[in-house]
Symmetry: C2
Subunit: 301 residues, 2 copies
């Protein structure tokens, strides 16, 4: 692979509170604002508490999941009296940090999330992006790739020229844990260090990374009224990213029966994520794939 020149990263936005009850990002952003952290070397840093109304309410969102509002359709929908708060807020954020897909958009957008699932520290991104893969290669995380075209990408990080979510768990909604706060702070510090080296002209070598690519979601078993009749089996609980094979138990019904997985071997993630109950998702399944990335260096302006 030939060395690829990549346009410089002049500015980065670090966002928290997109889901108001995921507290790591809220407190990291507030601390960076308190410390007046506006530069990392030559890279400008902007920090944004993205859904302050949901943070104040201690809820994921007030009227609609903000992190599903960044599709081209919702970002361009006319605002009327009945427009949910989060759609208005998405358009404000798009004006501040985007517009999505434009030359004015922030160079890199990092959005901080938590999960109740035992996923450790993950980067979640849409398309394969050399910057993201190089950063991932320098920070000890797992990577999850969602194969969705940019126009349909629904989450905040799609507004930046480059973007990813940092997703960390397990942490209950509404709770702040020191271990997770520290892990995210360290990942951000390493990312900013990488960006400074990249900006200063350093070459980064080729490499390969493993990433989990979303395949499908699995819902809970339900009765004729649509109510869930089972809970995640304890052998699957907390075992995100451990290969699930046909015949492995996945659910325990409330009356005590065990239901088993049938299908191809895949990797579960977002196992028993609180916010996915209403989305009818018990867990996602992924394939593990290896991605090669070229050596890169900054393209001078």
């Amino acid at each position: 692979m030939e060395r690829t020149s990549v346009p410089p990263i002049h500015n980065v936005a670090i966002c928290g509170g997109t889901h108001g009850n995921e507290l790591t990002g809220v407190y990291i952003v507030r601390e960076m604002q308190k410390q007046k952290m506006e530069k990392a070397g030559s890279v400008s840093v902007t920090t944004v508490e993205t859904n302050p109304r949901a943070v104040a309410a201690g809820r994921r969102y007030t009227e609609m999941d903000l992190n599903r509002c960044f599709t081209d359709v919702l970002l361009s929908s006319p605002i009327t009296e009945s427009t949910p708060y989060e759609v208005r807020r998405a358009q404000e954020l798009n004006a501040q940090l985007g517009p999505k897909g434009s030359a004015e958009a922030v160079d890199l957008l990092i959005d901080l999330h938590n999960t109740t699932s035992n996923m450790g520290l993950c980067l979640i991104f849409y398309s394969i992006d050399w910057i993201t893969l190089h950063i991932y290669n320098s920070v000890p995380v797992r990577a999850i790739q969602l194969d969705i075209p940019s126009s349909k990408a629904y989450s905040l990080e799609s507004v930046g020229k480059h973007g990813f979510a940092i997703e960390v768990g397990p942490q209950p909604n509404g709770v702040l844990r020191a271990d997770i706060f520290n892990v995210v702070k360290e990942a951000l510090d390493l990312t900013l260090q990488w960006l400074q080296k990249f900006s200063s002209g350093r070459n980064f070598e080729r490499g390969t990374v493993e990433a989990y690519t979303f395949v499908k979601s699995v819902d809970y078993p339900r009765d004729s009224a649509g109510k869930a009749t089972a809970v995640i089996h304890q052998n699957l609980q907390d075992n995100d990213f451990k290969l699930l094979r046909s015949g492995d138990p996945i659910f325990q019904t409330f009356s005590g029966d065990i239901l088993k997985y049938e299908g191809e071997d895949l990797y579960p993630f977002f196992v028993n994520e609180c916010a996915y109950y209403e989305k009818k998702i018990a867990f996602h399944l992924a394939q593990r794939k290896t991605y090669s990335f070229p050596p890169i260096s900054v393209k001078n302006d």
Copy 2:
């Protein structure tokens, strides 16, 4: 100690959903209702989903913490248009399962709770009560005693002639875990077995149990505007019931400083409980005490 005769337990109420986002009790009560579980031997069993409006909203409560509404003052306060939903509901429950302190009250009231703290399976009770101590001695749990007189006792279990809360964690609010569901189900099964043996005239021998007695609460450090400036230190996080000694770290400030405990050696519990952020409680501290209880048998009617 002489054998003590204790009036029989004819009926028991098993309650869940007093906090609408603590899901173990909600799903255990619903499953018992589905199975039409109305008797355990000669003991009548009533199951109640106590705060259905909060359960539907996926919140701890809608207007006021229901489990702080069972004081004599609130149970006898006149209902007006501005009375919070939970005070009305407390009075309904008191009419159904009490009245508190009366001969008509249910013999034993068990209320099912979850915590985000790593407390395992605990029984929480007010006064020392031979029935509760004997049950605790037959079920593998920790016991927590709150030394509050009955008239000021604020939680649902104080409505029964005997009563305790089963408190289990860690489980995030809004999440149902199979391991915790199974532990609570087993504790209830063992409790109902004990009640059947007691009703059928069996003698229970004297013994001693260890219980944690509430001493005081510790708040987060705060800035001049009243905002918390720190998170529970990771050495204390998840270490409920491990002796805290002077000099042990208890908080990490958001800027990275470590704050240490000063005071007598005590046992922390409810460490980093989500619902206690608004109550300004970072953790409780307890003494461990040994309680002796007499041999008991049922007093025939």
